[in-house]
Point group: C2
Chain length 188, copies 2
């Protein structure tokens, strides 16, 4: 048997590079040459894996959805719904530095792609909707019949805090809002 020669996952390298660059610079400002370079792949070869730039961002949206689903799988092992939401808040808080630097990865893409490019914008919004559905489900599990309202309020306040934190480059604004949300959650 020949020893397996550490097969390289070029497709994965490309989505990783693209994910980071679209997040840091935006979709429009990032060129496929940027992505290829960061992934260590020649430009021409990108097109073997992704026929267009659009299909690349679609792949990233799907990965983000999958990543969130994986987190959800962990959180759903927690007994109490309130504790699940607290875990969700913890995650939001732990990302505060990066978010203050580059904004919310999902919110940012949704905003950019939503302008003019309506097909891709809808796909980004669908990822955001998934976050919203999950938070709403937790409030419902808590027995609240205003769960829709509460879920929206939580997501909306976090999005607002992330936008302000990003505009002013102040991660503490996220800390503040997360703490407020934690207290609010306990008083419900």
């Amino acid at each position: 048997m020949t020893p397996a020669p550490a097969a390289r996952d070029k497709r994965g390298d490309l989505t990783n590079a693209a994910q980071a660059l679209f997040y840091e610079q935006g979709f429009g400002a990032t060129t496929l040459a940027n992505v290829a370079e960061r992934a260590g792949v020649p430009l021409g070869n990108v097109y073997y894996y992704f026929k267009t730039k659009d299909s690349l961002v679609e792949a990233i949206l799907m990965e983000r959805r999958a990543a969130f689903d994986a987190m959800v799988a962990q959180w759903d092992a927690i007994q109490k719904p309130k504790a699940r939401l607290e875990a969700f808040l913890d995650m939001n808080h732990s990302g505060r530095e990066i978010v203050a630097e580059h904004g919310c990865p999902v919110g940012g893409l949704s905003m950019e792609l939503g302008k003019e490019h309506s097909i891709l914008g809808d796909k980004a919004a669908a990822v955001l909707a998934r976050y919203l559905e999950w938070t709403t489900a937790q409030f419902r599990a808590m027995g609240r019949d205003d769960a829709d309202d509460l879920g929206l309020r939580l997501m909306s306040s976090l999005q607002g805090a992330m936008l302000m934190a990003n505009s002013f480059r102040q991660p503490e604004l996220i800390t503040r809002e997360v703490n407020r949300a934690r207290a609010w959650l306990n008083d419900l």
Copy 2:
């Protein structure tokens, strides 16, 4: 005396066109040819008024600041600070349809320009900061010494609502948040 031949303000036409297009399509996605066409000005002539595309967006940022200052001048004629904030909320509510379609004009520019283009991003953030300063000043006039916190909370919740409303194309999300803010304001 020759009758004044309805002098045309080309510079103004250009900033108006650019304002609308940057808002609808984003800064990066809008070409100077788009702007020129919408303004009814030949492409080459744009450069007589604005040396670069960047200087055009800077001019727009200044106009937005001036427009806000003009609103503020009206609101400041209102006696009670709480009523001034209510007027501010009314304005936010009245724009809900357009905001659901294209997002917050200031927040959107701040987000887009903040990515990579840090100089312009700061200028956009400065406009947002001005909104924040004004709301904070109203809470201070109400005698609250947590005015900083309250001002931030108001702006942040509005930004969050606008982002969600835009992602999902639902103006009612803004109505909801504005109503909540109104009630919150009364209970303070």
